[in-house]
Symmetry: C2
Amino acid sequence: MKRVTIYEVAKEANVSLATVSRVINGSDVVKEETRKKVEEAINKLGYKPNAIAQGLALQKSTTLGLIVPESSLSYASQTINGLADVAKIYDYNIIIHTITEGISKIEDVVEEIIKSRVDGVLIYCDKTLDESTNLLKQYNIPMVVIGDRISSDNICSAFIDYEQASYELIASYLDKGIDNIAILEDRRNSNISQELLEGGKKAFKEKGKEFDSYISIPRESRSTYKFLKDYLKDNKHKLLIANRDSQAIACLNVAAENGIKVPDDMEVVCMTDSKYTSMSRPELSSFIMPSYDLGALAMRLMTKMLSGEEVEEKEKTLGYVYQVRESTLN
Amino acid sequence: MKRVTIYEVAKEANVSLATVSRVINGSDVVKEETRKKVEEAINKLGYKPNAIAQGLALQKSTTLGLIVPESSLSYASQTINGLADVAKIYDYNIIIHTITEGISKIEDVVEEIIKSRVDGVLIYCDKTLDESTNLLKQYNIPMVVIGDRISSDNICSAFIDYEQASYELIASYLDKGIDNIAILEDRRNSNISQELLEGGKKAFKEKGKEFDSYISIPRESRSTYKFLKDYLKDNKHKLLIANRDSQAIACLNVAAENGIKVPDDMEVVCMTDSKYTSMSRPELSSFIMPSYDLGALAMRLMTKMLSGEEVEEKEKTLGYVYQVRESTLN
DNA sequence: CTGAAAGCGCTAACAC
DNA sequence: GTGTTAGCGCTTTCAG
């Protein structure tokens, strides 16, 4: 179907296209009467402005790019919801680019992003973060990084303070005299793993101790479950900290199979809550992370950058809530 | 940073912009020597064609709209990965529109879609499907519906045959003489629920029986778990079929708490496999559904429609694999 | 094989 | 207040 253009509206309303443009864009210099006429024409013809043409004329697309590593997409869904809802409020569209090992290289994605002339880029953090920001930097395009603490000239970031969560959790156990604490690596979220480790180190250091129980999962290991099955035979911990729900559940399963009682013999904490953490038995104590808010905040940062507002705080931290359930003692 | 335009490339290469355009678009009429010159200029200046301007000139955006109900986003992640990977191959961008109750109405989303002049729309099916397709229909824009069996002039669809899966499963139990079978409603995926029901009805009918154990979860019920906690006190089934992993896990949990042995007293099947189904204890027998392929197929259908290829089969069905685990008998 | 020029639909000075 | 006009960056006839 031939889409109707601003010319046809102008003709229908018997005005110039400039006037139609004015009413579309809510310019207040238009006489009320004229505005009415134009609006009627718009409705009658079902005219919808062509965003592409607007984009060309205005040199901006009101479109944002979003880069998400394919493997993170399922974890990111709440965050994307937050992004999308806020984007809608500010009338931005989101072009989603997944980056898949073997299929879509980061260079190609950046190339597409540049071609599409998006006004800004949101990057869901993962190990390719540095590469994306470096490639994008040369184009001087506003960026918001989600999930890592980073900022520069036109880069802001929004993230959840996993390090602090880890620190608080571990410090509280050290206070109780428990120091046989281990953190399980999450290969899928290496930056979060790193933060957890830092938090642990800090807590131990404050007690004059050194943290040395970061459990690296070997590359060849097929799953956390399989790895733990061996690991927990030879290694005992009073508290085991996992990032993802599935890893925490694996801990529970292996414990049950090895006759390790949770929480009596070993406590388990999941750092990133999900609906599954309260469906396990025992239910997993976990940190409720504000994923939706993370997205909303990130998008808000972006709209601020784009509107030229001064962003006072370029690295925004979000808090969390620790939810005690059954996998920990008292 | 001022982006470089085709003019600058033309000047640099000492040719007209028409020639530059030709080499960008791989026209084969350009002399090899000229092409070289232009390509050098392109590289030297770091020129990237402006997709917006191209869109205007060509009257197509090489961009597709994707509508996903916010609540489905997490289930849809694999499917979106499939969509995205194939889209990348065919050089299409995807603008994602979530539709959130209370925030983004379907009318507004459709309005945005029209304004953005996407070349086609993919719709992840849910209860708002009819509304979206009806609104979109008047613009004569190619659509692909994901997750429902539907087609018309410029609508194709790709879906997984849940009805058949349900039918086969239930028929096999009836063959074994087990007919105390119930299907648990999934309010989040009402169309799938409906298909499961149809499959059940069909299987029963073939045995001259009538299926009457569709468990509707009352609107006021906060969670499947809470609902089942009461329900399973008064109702016994030999086979309980749930769609989502979380519902199936809820069945397992309630059963354990009520002293119902799974699979001996009651078998449980999860229709949509996920990584969590094999993490439950007992592990859940479930149908492995090709979510990624669903997305890939849907996108392939879209590219076919857009390239004007004749789409012989407008409603594409995908198969599944039944994975027996511990929650069912032999 | 290449260049000139019109046009895609809209915005934004600049006139009137 | 409203109209005229020159772009925005690119593609595509149509000449040559």
